[in-house]
């Protein structure tokens, strides 16, 4: 695994067609963000309603977008791209969100977006090469992150089941996943060990949730309180939702282009959509990456649907199902066609999906639990991976510096987002160790 990853980390050397795809798509996403039709950051979307309705200015909305995105670009997107050699949406799409909203002229948005795409495909390679030539190679050390991320991520459905449906079902889900991981390792050693387990876990969670909602609907059929809410009191929600859905439908051709672009980028295999996927794509495990991102999508679909319906702005990657589709498709033309079709269906179905979600509170709850569980597993995995990387690059001194920076951040009230603190500490620690090397105060470990 290590050797394959190391080979892949040189993979930031993109082919011309791949570069063109990234630059073109960045121009498009910035344009879409400029029109407030779609943004990648789910947190920015609700603020776009005020912007669309003219109650806030471009500058203020841009500042919100920057404030919400910067940490994820430098803390999550950039370190992950540098260590895996594969691009990710935080690095590619968050800056185009910001640039698009900030661009004062319509034509300037795609220019700035395209420029960012160029920075990514050309600049990252330079930074990567430079870092690998340093005496203390902290990027190679960061590849230590992949094993903890891949294996702990496998458990996210178990945590969600446990939190939503209690200890007993959580324990069952945990046992089922463990058995499946062991079986997969034994029977199909070439397949990513967690793929089957994750599938089972997510299906259990959704099964429990749908069962609970159906049971409660049946029990509540006599009082019909929920149904009353939906038709009567909910009217403002229904009218806001249908206005938003209508706004998105008006721009369907643009969304078809967006879907085509994101699916095409996924098909080039230089891009991983989820938190764990970059490492799988780097190893060429496309089927496993597709599975992981497909199950992950369940955690985000309700959030993306409801924020889109409440704001009139969609997600850059839609319901993110174009990621797994792209990884699996055999050629770029098919990716363009399928991506456009998927976005068409998504945008047209949005109203209906909102109505269905309104009737399934447990399913919406599950999606929040899934996202929360993704955060919990990644937090431990990224922290542990960061410490592994620290040990690889600097032994005890590395652990002291990286662990110390992490703890210091905690003590200072988390200046850096907790998830990003580990990787940021590894980067800072790596630079520091190189400085110490030049001062003749540190001898790099030979592995």
């Amino acid at each position: 695994m290590g050797a394959q990853l190391a080979a892949a980390a040189g993979g930031l050397d993109f082919a011309p067609a791949q570069r063109l795809t990234v630059i073109g798509l960045c121009a498009l996403t910035a344009f879409v963000s400029h029109r407030a039709l779609a943004v990648f950051n789910d947190g920015v979307r609700p603020f776009l309603l005020d912007f669309v309705q003219g109650r806030t200015r471009r500058g203020a909305t841009g500042a919100v977008s920057f404030g919400l995105s910067a940490g994820f670009v430098f803390g999550l997107g950039a370190p992950m791209a540098l260590s895996s050699g594969v691009l990710n949406p935080w690095l590619v799409f968050l800056p185009t969100d910001v640039l698009g909203i900030l661009a004062p002229r319509k034509w300037l948005a795609p220019v700035l977006g395209g420029a960012w795409g160029a920075v990514v495909v050309f600049g990252l390679k330079g930074a990567n090469d430079a870092a690998h030539r340093l005496p203390v190679d902290f990027l190679t050390a960061m590849q230590q992150m992949s094993t903890p991320i891949l294996f702990l991520f496998t458990l996210f459905p178990v945590l969600a089941v446990c939190k939503q449906f209690g200890r007993a079902r959580g324990a069952v889900a945990g046992a089922v996943e463990l058995v499946l991981v062991v079986l997969t390792m034994k029977l199909w050693p070439k397949v990513f060990a967690g793929s089957l387990a994750m599938a089972a876990g997510v299906l259990m969670l959704i099964g429990f949730a749908v069962a609970r909602d159906l049971r409660e609907r049946r029990d509540g059929a006599t009082t019909d309180q929920d149904a009353g809410n939906e038709t009567g009191v909910d009217d403002p929600m229904a009218s806001l939702f249908s206005a938003s859905a209508a706004r998105l439908r008006q721009h369907l051709p643009l969304f078809m282009a967006l879907g085509a672009g994101v699916c095409l980028l996924s098909q080039t295999h230089i891009f991983g959509g989820g938190e764990a996927t970059s490492f799988l794509i780097a190893q060429g495990q496309y089927a496993e990456a597709a599975q992981v991102d497909f199950y992950r999508a369940f955690g985000f679909l309700p959030l993306i649907a409801t924020t889109a319906l409440a704001s009139g702005a969609y997600g850059i990657a839609g319901f993110t199902v174009v990621y797994p589709l792209g990884y699996l498709l055999p050629n770029p033309w098919l990716a363009v066609v399928c991506g456009a079709l998927v976005f068409t269906v998504e945008v047209l179905a949005l109203s209906g999906i909102g109505r269905v979600l309104g009737r399934l509170p447990s399913v919406r709850d599950s999606s929040e639990r899934l996202r929360s569980a993704i955060g919990d597993t990644l937090q431990l995995a990224v922290l542990f991976g960061s410490l592994l990387a620290a040990q690889t690059m600097g032994g005890g001194l590395g652990l002291l510096i990286v662990g110390g920076l992490y703890l210091l951040n905690e003590a200072m009230g988390r200046v850096v987002v907790r998830m990003a603190a580990g990787p940021a500490a590894v980067l800072a620690g790596g630079v520091l160790l190189n400085v110490l090397y030049w001062l003749d105060l540190f001898t790099p470990l030979t592995s």
């Binding site: 947190g43 603020f47 409801t306 409440a310 509170p361």
Partner: protein
Amino acid sequence: MTKILTGGVGKSEVVGAVTGLGLPGVEIVVSSDMDAAVLLRAGRADYFLGTCHTGAGASLGVLVGLLGAAACHTFGRSVPSGAQIEALLDEGKRVFGFAVDQIDAVAPALVRALAARTL
């Protein structure tokens, strides 16, 4: 009795961070953005505390659109002072968003301020 609803990725954690405080006059219940929007509009709940990774838009979900930005405030990842909280409550803010990694600092402070107002 002031009824507070929670939502977002840290909705159970917010309830957990507050329940142990034994504050009189407040009831805090796990909910979701869509349900909370209905209950707040109908006057069947008073406040909403939402959480997400950035403490911004996703923590509030559909509430910004349905209750209007004037009723909503997001702390982001910052920890507000008591005076800030009082000022926001005086302005009539009813929906608050904050970051999931700042729950221990923000949720008790907010709910203490709400509990103090019920006396």
